[in-house]
């Protein structure tokens, strides 16, 4: 293959892969701590995208500036979903972990409700937000790097680093890690487990608020846009290692670059099949995922 085209493919793959990883961060965090597979993950990203869109359409706020609204809003939504909808299920379970199936079905219900509410409220039309900032692509040699995607990519890396530091260094972070290790032991040590769960869920969805604002400038926004991100996030998280923050980014990069290169040889449809093949292959060798503990 032409080395220039290969370079192009790698750059594109890294950018989009980093974004996949960033979007999957929250899913990984929530699963790692609560053991809840959040099926509504993509839908909450959709809420973030629409919030950014409407802030621009109604109040003229640039999508990049709307971060200060979308992040707290999505945090509150996540906090509320955990406190009101998922928590009762968790307290009914006497075992240490929630039966994955019942939590999955519950969040699948949340996903259906959110997506259809969005359809009712916003209608089926495709929308798009645009930033007023003029951002010409930066040139990496002969390869143009799209700035909006580069910002999304950088935000993913920074968010992952920030999350790791927060979990390691702060009291809240330590409490979250303790709860993830053993819920009952954490409770016995005086940790307010219901609050930790709600905050974890809130942080996981707040990240979607961030990416909602950052992606709104280049993703077509429809009420069911979340689904394509939701499914890919699952793959990314499992590939990278469930609950591993760096694993989420690494998983995203692997999928992104692999698909970008593979689709230069086969149609993109088949590239997606190949990336799922790669996914199975990696899990055969490392069942815990790339960065997961066995």
């Amino acid at each position: 293959m032409d080395p220039l085209i290969l370079g192009f493919a790698v750059v594109n793959g890294l950018l989009i892969g980093g974004i996949y990883g960033g979007v999957a961060l929250g899913l990984s965090l929530i699963f790692g701590v609560l053991r809840v597979v959040n099926f509504a993950h993509g839908s909450l990203l959709m809420v973030g995208l629409y919030t950014a869109y409407w802030l621009q359409a109604l109040a003229g706020i640039d999508p990049y500036a709307s971060v200060i609204f979308t992040v707290p809003l999505l945090f509150c939504m996540g906090y509320f979903i955990q406190r009101v909808i998922i928590a009762p299920l968790i307290w009914r379970e006497s075992a240490l972990v929630v039966e994955p199936l019942s939590a999955l079905l519950l969040t699948a219900g949340v996903y259906l409700v959110i997506d259809n509410l969005a359809l009712m409220a916003f209608g089926p039309d495709v929308r798009s937000a645009s930033t007023s900032l003029d951002m010409p692509p930066i040139m990496l040699g002969p390869i143009p790097v799209n700035m909006q995607r580069f910002i999304g990519f950088s935000a993913a890396i920074l968010a992952a680093i920030g999350l790791v530091v927060w979990l390691r260094q702060t009291r809240m972070g330590r409490a979250i890690r303790a709860t993830a290790q053993n819920r009952d032991a954490a409770a016995l040590s005086g940790i307010d487990v219901p609050m930790i769960y709600a905050v974890t869920f809130g942080v996981g969805t707040a990240l979607l608020g961030l990416f909602g604002s950052l992606l709104a400038t280049f993703i077509p926004i429809t009420p069911n846009v979340g689904l394509s991100f939701g499914i890919r996030s699952f793959i990314v998280v499992v590939l990278g290692g469930i609950g591993s923050i760096p694993g989420s980014i690494l998983g995203g990069l692997v999928i992104g670059v692999f698909e970008a290169i593979a689709s230069q040889f086969v149609p993109a449809t088949s590239a997606a099949i190949l990336s799922l093949g790669l996914f199975i292959l990696i899990l055969l060798v490392r069942p815990g995922g790339l960065m997961g503990k066995l």
Binding site: V126, N224, S263, P267, A271
Partner: protein
């Protein structure tokens, strides 16, 4: 679901009992079913069609209904296909079995129309195809299936004819073509026709790529197009993917000397133009299912009413899909008048004898509607528009061109545009 149906059933019985014999004095009602993508990827198109069909129905009812049936009213029932074949099929069954419709129209997506019209054929219920172009829909020997609009082969021929024509006009034209299209029935059947025609007319297809629906990134595929260096690009995408593609092509400054040639779908959807920057779609060639410049010649008062209401309800001007929904209802009205019955077989026979040469049924821009033995309207045709100064203006056929319009051919590169 069962709940609402049984409740409705109970209400129905109650209403019948309450009305008693008075019910028979009311003019009868003809129920027409529509299968449309009211939610999902093609939802904006489905809603436009629904609004068009509803306005036509209101007009027909307000003007006294079906006169040969004693002023019978038309009532529409809608089934939402969500653009999914399996749901389209089960909704078609529901409309035919439970709602007892006289005929079904729909369903825009070829992938839905193909199996759903087979259900209609099985139950001997007339099916009036709207929007779907897949050739085989009217090539299965189904006597209950009709199609008003173009087949895929007409669409492809119009695109290639236009290129040939511009070449003849200017002495310049593309030698190599790339095709990039959505990977379901519509895109694939269009691509197969272009492939065939390109070979006959001496174009070299250098890239032939399908994409699954609802993409979030086309970088890889755009890179492939860049590497293949085609002179022109033929695309077939529904609205969300078309939006992504057009945006990314502008961001990456992917230039094609003889432009982007879209066969409709997203590029005919007003919702698409509301969401995209005019710069991204400048000089696009679109194969239109409706005359985009103001309809020439005869206009009927129905049109002004339609266009006004359409704008009020949806917030943008009339689209090809609204027009098709509107016209389909007038074709059905014509057949119902002649059949003087809502019996499915009689309606089918009347539809087969359709020969309309005037009136609002021709709103889409056809000169005549007459079905061949396969149920295809052989007088269906489209036009090719080019996006000039933010407006889609007809550039082909030459006789439909306005006096002040001249296609820009070849198209300027992104860098050279003002």
């Amino acid at each position: 679901m069962t709940h609402s149906i049984s409740r409705r059933g109970v209400l129905g019985i109650a209403a019948t009992m309450a009305l008693g014999s008075k019910a028979f004095a009311q003019p009868a009602e003809v129920v027409i079913g529509w299968i449309l993508p009211l939610t999902g990827v093609s939802a904006s198109v489905g809603q436009q069609t629904r609004v068009g069909a509803q306005i036509a129905t209101d007009q027909i009812n307000a003007a006294g209904g079906i006169k040969s049936l004693g002023g019978a009213r038309i009532r529409l029932v809608f089934g939402d296909s969500q653009s999914k074949p399996d749901i389209g099929v089960s909704e078609t069954e529901r409309l035919i079995q439970r709602e007892n419709v006289a005929a079904v129209a729909g369903a825009f997506n070829s992938a839905v129309t193909f199996p759903a019209s087979e259900v209609a054929q099985r139950y001997k219920t007339p099916w009036l195809t709207m929007g779907a172009v897949k050739d085989e829909i009217t090539e299965r020997g189904f006597e209950y299936v009709f199609r008003l609009n173009n087949k895929a082969i007409y669409d492809a021929r119009e695109q290639i004819d236009a290129m040939d024509f511009f070449k003849k006009e200017t002495g310049k034209g593309p030698k190599t073509l790339a095709m990039f299209y959505e990977g379901s029935d519509w895109g694939r059947s269009h691509a197969a026709n272009v492939r065939k025609l390109a070979k006959e007319r001496g174009y070299d297809v250098v890239l032939d790529e399908a994409a699954p629906p609802n993409q979030v990134d086309f970088s890889s595929q755009l890179l492939k197009i860049r590497a293949a260096k085609p002179d022109a690009l033929i695309v077939a995408f529904y609205t969300p993917d078309q939006l992504l593609l057009s945006r990314q092509m502008m961001e990456q400054r992917l230039d094609l000397p003889y432009g982007v040639h879209s066969v409709g779908g997203g590029t005919e959807d007003p919702a698409f133009y509301k969401a995209i920057s005019p710069r991204a779609v400048a000089y696009y060639f679109v194969q239109e299912d409706r005359q985009v410049d103001a309809l020439q010649g005869v206009r009927y008062p129905e049109y002004d009413d339609l266009e006004k209401k359409f704008r009020e309800l949806l917030g943008y001007n009339m689209s090809a899909y609204g027009a098709q929904g509107f016209a389909t209802m007038y074709v059905l009205k014509d057949a119902l008048e002649r059949a003087a019955s809502s019996d499915r077989d009689k309606l089918r026979d009347a539809l087969a004898k359709t020969d309309i040469t005037s009136g609002p049924a021709l709103y889409v821009g056809y000169q005549r509607i007459k079905f061949d033995e396969h149920g295809q309207n052989t007088f269906a045709h489209g036009a090719i528009s080019q996006n000039l100064d933010g407006q889609r203006r007809t550039v082909w056929p030459a006789e439909s061109r306005a006096k002040d319009i001249k296609p820009i051919w070849p198209v300027p590169a992104f860098g050279a545009r003002s």
